[in-house]
């Protein structure tokens, strides 16, 4: 037994306490936070917790977005009648031109179906598309993320590709009940399999955390790529459907000592200026084909 020189009522005598707040709650909470970080980064077990919290916090996004919506409404409400009539006329003309293009594409689609039937290839089904609105909220500075106003109640899912009217914007990485998080292709952790429309060469396009520049990596020195080439999605990896424009080549760096060619690419989509985006749903047989492809790849790996 240790005889202590402290008073028996030391712990109760808080009036002249010289110690800090107790450290044990802080220590336990820090360990808990570290464990949460490891679990969230390595496993999907916290998805349910994130989802539950997002149900409670999603209204905050809408509250912050409200002033931007009010401003947009006020600007449109206060515009002169003459400007509105002019805009209306321009949109009518654009609509007529789009309808004419659609008629052309419908004819091409019919012809494509007939050719596929002739060569006994399966026909491509239409992909379902929904419009979503980008909420005017801010996210982490180190990531290129956007928050959309669609969630699980609108059947949005993780990995869903997102476009704007010009090209590919990114993919959904997190889904809540009312909102979802879009990872832009400009983020350094986003990679898109692309194909050069002119030369049919395949490569991987990665983000550089800059909205106006992406980078093609691991391109061999024998590549025929040049400035102005249009890069479209190649469909490899089964994440992005094939054929959607991603970016145009700005500059090709071919240094003598390097093993690969580095290419600067400008994204086609207006990454942080778009207010409306398009969410794509895959074709009905997409899941079946993806499973068959993965099975075949795994069997090839085991044989090797």
């Amino acid at each position: 037994m240790v005889i202590s020189s402290r008073l028996n009522n030391y712990r109760r005598n808080q009036l002249f306490a010289k110690t800090k707040q107790p450290y044990l709650p802080f220590l336990m909470a820090i360990v808990f936070a570290l464990v949460m970080m490891v679990v969230d980064s390595q496993t999907p077990f916290l998805a349910a917790v994130r989802y539950a919290l997002s149900v409670a916090l999603s209204p905050l996004y809408y509250v912050v977005d409200a002033p931007a919506r009010v401003q947009t409404w006020a600007v449109s409400a206060l515009r002169a009648k003459k400007d509105l009539l002019q805009d209306n006329e321009q949109l009518r003309q654009q609509d007529m031109l789009s309808q004419a293009k659609l008629l052309q594409w419908a004819a091409l689609e019919r012809e494509n179906k007939q050719l596929r039937a002739f060569f006994a290839s399966p026909a491509r089904e239409r992909t379902q598309v929904t419009v979503a609105q980008v909420l005017a909220v801010s996210t982490a500075n180190t990531r290129q993320l956007l928050i959309l106003n669609k969630g699980t109640r609108d059947k949005v899912f993780v990995g869903q590709p997102v476009l704007d009217e010009q090209g590919v914007m990114g993919q959904i990485i997190d889904v809540g009940y009312m909102t979802s998080t879009l990872l832009l292709i400009a983020d350094s952790q986003c990679a898109v399999p692309v194909r050069n429309q002119r030369t049919e060469e395949r490569a991987i396009l990665v983000g550089t955390n800059r909205l106006d520049q992406l980078s093609l990596i691991n391109l061999p020195k024998t590549s025929l790529i040049k400035t102005g080439d249009l890069l479209v999605t190649s469909g490899l990896g089964r994440l992005y459907p094939e054929g959607y424009p991603v970016g145009t080549v700005m500059q090709v760096h071919n240094k003598p000592g390097d093993a690969f060619v580095t290419v600067d690419v400008q994204p086609v989509a207006a990454l942080k200026k778009s207010h409306l985006v398009l969410l794509l749903w895959p074709e009905k047989e997409h899941a079946v084909y993806t499973a068959q492809i993965n099975e075949r790849l795994q069997s090839m790996d085991t044989k090797v």
């Binding site: 707040q21 709650p25 802080f26 970080m37 916290l46 994130r50 916090l57 905050l60 996210t139 997190d174």
Partner: protein, 169 residues
């Protein structure tokens, strides 16, 4: 709105809202850490209302709102408030300028921890931006103190108590 708990809860909600309000791109890296400033005020001036579990919950809310790793903001808030807990007894006796410097150091600590977590996750961030955050904390602290004093501390009751205490002699 007489209940202190309700006022504190609403203040924390407003701090979370301020964290996701869009700012011009130039000002984004030096956004004031509103939640940290409010927690520091509560820790120093309303210690009876400071709970570690509440810090953890706020951190998780920040992680979700900012789409970062779950636990990242909670860890930064916890370590910063733990360091600040050593100054709880003496902070309120500092002059406002001393308080501003100390709060700037806490802001620097908080942003440094966030940068380290982001770096471990593979996201780069400008190293010197955290000094901008510290500067913003230094300039913002008097305003936070002024507003929070008006919102949470009932000066009439305090003065009544002081006068009553004096009159009893």
């Amino acid at each position: 709105m007489k209940s202190l708990s309700l006022r504190l809860f609403l203040a924390h909600v407003i701090a979370l809202l301020m964290t996701i309000v869009p700012l011009p791109t130039v000002l984004q890296p030096i956004r004031p850490p509103w939640v940290l400033l409010l927690l520091l005020y509560v820790q120093f001036f309303l210690p009876q209302a400071f709970y570690v579990a509440w810090v953890v919950l706020l951190g998780f809310c920040l992680d979700l709102l900012q789409s970062t790793l779950f636990g990242q903001h909670a860890l930064a808030l916890l370590i910063t408030t733990w360091v600040a807990s050593g100054w709880v007894q003496t902070f309120r006796f500092f002059t406002i300028y001393q308080q501003m410097v100390l709060v700037a150091l806490f802001g620097l600590c908080y942003q440094f921890l966030l940068n380290v977590c982001e770096a471990i996750c593979g996201h780069t961030h400008g190293f010197f931006w955290m000094f901008g955050v510290a500067l913003i904390c230094l300039m913002g602290w008097p305003w936070v103190r002024f507003l929070a004093d008006r919102l949470f501390i009932d000066y009439k009751k305090m003065h009544k108590g002081a006068i009553h205490g004096l009159s009893s002699y």
